[in-house]
Symmetry: C2
Subunit: 146 residues, 2 copies
């Protein structure tokens, strides 16, 4: 979130309400000392935790387990130049508790690309920020698409 | 790009062709030692450079000028569980050459939220990677949405 850049900041409650409507977000992390970003489907828990499900053998898991990551979802309408973006920032950890893993197998997010052995990764909602742009074109009375 | 995760890797040419169709992407960087991500509109140059236009006073410019960043665009269809994601990784630099700045004022990307003083930021296409998922549901014959 960058202050004074023409966007409206969203509070935590608004952020989580919008995030609950999204099916896909992007996990932002560091890979081999470079910024990396990957779209993933996810589920949102009541406390704002973000749950991912992925192959236990995936490089993504090795890259993010125990690290602080950002998870972003957005919805932008290019025609009206309006939309929102929400970011959950916090530690990512693989769910190791067997009972919780079993619960998530039943109730957690589904894999789009199922793997023989899957794990759940939880991102703690330590920081929840968001911003909204309401009709850039209308706000300024300009046709910015020309 | 993570190998062996069920997605098809895209070559540089395919990546740039897809990126050219997108109007909005996400700039992935580091802010106050934390991963950060922000949707922005952009223009693509012939060599794959990504051009952003933003307020000269923005915190984003201070955060990314001279840093290596990732710029991601994607298109995901939740119903068919298919889509693509392209990432351009490279150094971000503010365009300081006056003649080039003038050229970009005429031909470069437009601001959705115009500011009194604007700058252009170019992200060098040092690394261009992408992946495609073609119908996760169809590929596996599973209904993953239940």
């Amino acid at each position: 979130m960058y202050p004074n850049d023409g966007f409206r900041e969203l509070d935590r409650e608004e952020c989580l309400r919008l995030l609950a409507k999204a099916a896909v977000g992007r996990i932002v992390h560091t890979r081999q000392a470079l910024p990396a970003v990957l779209p993933v489907n996810f589920a949102l828990e009541d406390d704002g935790s973000v749950l991912l499900r992925t192959s236990a053998a995936s490089e993504l898991v090795r890259a993010i387990d125990g690290s602080v990551v950002a998870f972003e979802a957005d919805q932008v309408d290019v025609t009206t130049q309006s939309g929102w973006s929400v970011v959950v920032t916090g530690g990512a950890t693989v769910v190791t508790d067997a009972a919780e893993h079993e619960r998530l197998v039943r109730t957690g997010p589904r894999s789009w690309v199922p793997a023989p052995q899957e794990v759940f990764v939880r991102i703690a909602p330590e920081l929840v920020t968001g911003r909204e742009l309401v009709g850039g074109r209308t706000m300024y009375g300009l046709d910015l698409t020309s």
